[in-house]
């Protein structure tokens, strides 16, 4: 499928949901899709800066990062990975039903996705709470026994900033999905026009992909020791 070429004249009977500056829904959809993907590319580089800094420091301090990583809760992290991938499944199904024009199924799966997202955030909150109680919050109150205290603090700086930024994106995603769910419930979408569901889905899946990389990098360093 290629990007459609402009027609010579705007079609006289314009479809519902078609913006004035587009010729047809096909062009509008192509533009919206490319626009969302380009935004996701900026997110690759936004998170990417953090991954780059993390990579440099982990390469410099492998032992310290391994020891610090063992303090991350592997059970909670694994459960969260399962929860988030599950939410990607429900999101994909929501888009699937949008393609079929099934209004109620769309809303149901969007709600399910949001519930899983909130569950993820709840588990993350519990993790953060444990880290706080262990004095692993970077800053003046940071305490880490052993010879690797300073580089361990560096690890935890990245742990909190990377998972925190990810969590912020999840919150935004849940807000996005709730807006789309309300509009879907009101019948604003059809099997011809459901781009907002699809685009919100792209955002949600992307946040899942970021976690797919965060999980092994932060939780799975040298777990054989």
């Amino acid at each position: 499928m290629t990007i459609p070429v402009r027609r010579e004249q705007p079609l006289p009977d314009r479809s519902a949901g078609l913006a004035h500056h587009f010729d047809d829904l096909e062009q509008q959809h192509a533009a919206g899709s490319l626009g969302m993907w380009l935004f996701l590319v900026t997110e690759i580089l936004f998170f990417g800066g953090l991954f780059a800094a993390y990579a440099i420091y982990r390469w410099q301090y492998p032992a310290a990062f391994a020891v610090a990583s063992h303090e991350a809760d592997l059970v909670m992290g694994t459960i969260n990975t399962i929860v988030l991938i599950g939410s990607s499944l429900t999101m994909a199904l929501a888009v699937h039903y949008a393609q079929l024009g099934n209004r109620k199924a769309v809303v149901a799966f969007l709600i399910l996705t949001m519930v899983l997202g909130v569950a993820f955030l709840g588990i993350k909150g519990a993790e953060y709470h444990h880290k706080y109680l262990d004095n692993h919050f970077p800053g003046p109150d940071f305490v880490f026994p052993g010879p690797y205290a300073q580089q361990a603090e560096l690890f935890f700086i990245f742990y909190f900033i990377m998972t925190g930024l990810h969590a912020l994106h999840m919150v935004i995603g849940i807000g996005l999905l709730s807006t789309v769910a309300v509009l879907a419930w009101r019948g604003c979408y059809s099997s011809e026009h459901f781009a907002p569901v699809e685009l919100a889905g792209l955002y949600w899946h992307f946040v899942d992909v970021v976690w797919i990389f965060l999980f092994p990098l932060l939780y799975l360093i040298d777990r054989h020791k």
């Binding site: 499928m1 290629t2 990007i3 829904l25 096909e26 959809h29 192509a30 899709s33 490319l34 993907w37 380009l38 996701l40 590319v41 690759i44 580089l45 990417g48 800066g49 991954f51 780059a52 990579a55 440099i56 390469w59 410099q60 592997l74 694994t78 990975t81 399962i82 991938i85 599950g86 990607s88 499944l89 999101m91 994909a92 199904l93 699937h96 393609q99 079929l100 011809e192 781009a195 699809e198 889905g201 792209l202 899946h205 992307f206 899942d208 992909v209 797919i212 990389f213 999980f215 092994p216 990098l217 799975l220 360093i221 040298d222 777990r223 054989h224 020791k225």
Partner: protein
């Protein structure tokens, strides 16, 4: 518009694959592979990400420009990390002249 409608069972199959890969990556981390632990972790993560991109995010059924954009983003991240690493990796190879 992605005219192509992916079947529900495909989505479930991908989900199960992702679950298997998740279990695998946790299990591999408990085995001592030396420097290949990080390689294995990243390869498995890349496989999972690819499945999400191609099927959940419909890249397989989208115009090729989309795949090009994703590839560019990943390439640019690789350039950032790679070229920065050339500095760090080579710092010990030669002592800088005095005054530099």
């Amino acid at each position: 518009m992605s005219e192509h409608i992916v079947q529900k069972k495909t989505y479930f199959a991908i989900f199960l694959t992702l679950m298997v890969l998740t279990v695998t990556t946790v299990w591999v981390a408990t085995i001592d592979l030396g420097p290949f632990n990080i390689v294995a972790a990243l390869v498995i993560a890349a496989c999972k990400a690819t499945l999400v991109l191609l099927i959940f995010m419909h890249v397989r059924y989208s115009p090729r420009i989309i795949a090009l954009c994703i590839f560019a983003g990943i390439l640019w991240l690789a350039l950032l990390i790679g070229l920065t690493l050339t500095d760090y990796l080579s710092r010990s190879w030669i002592a800088s002249p005095p005054g530099l």
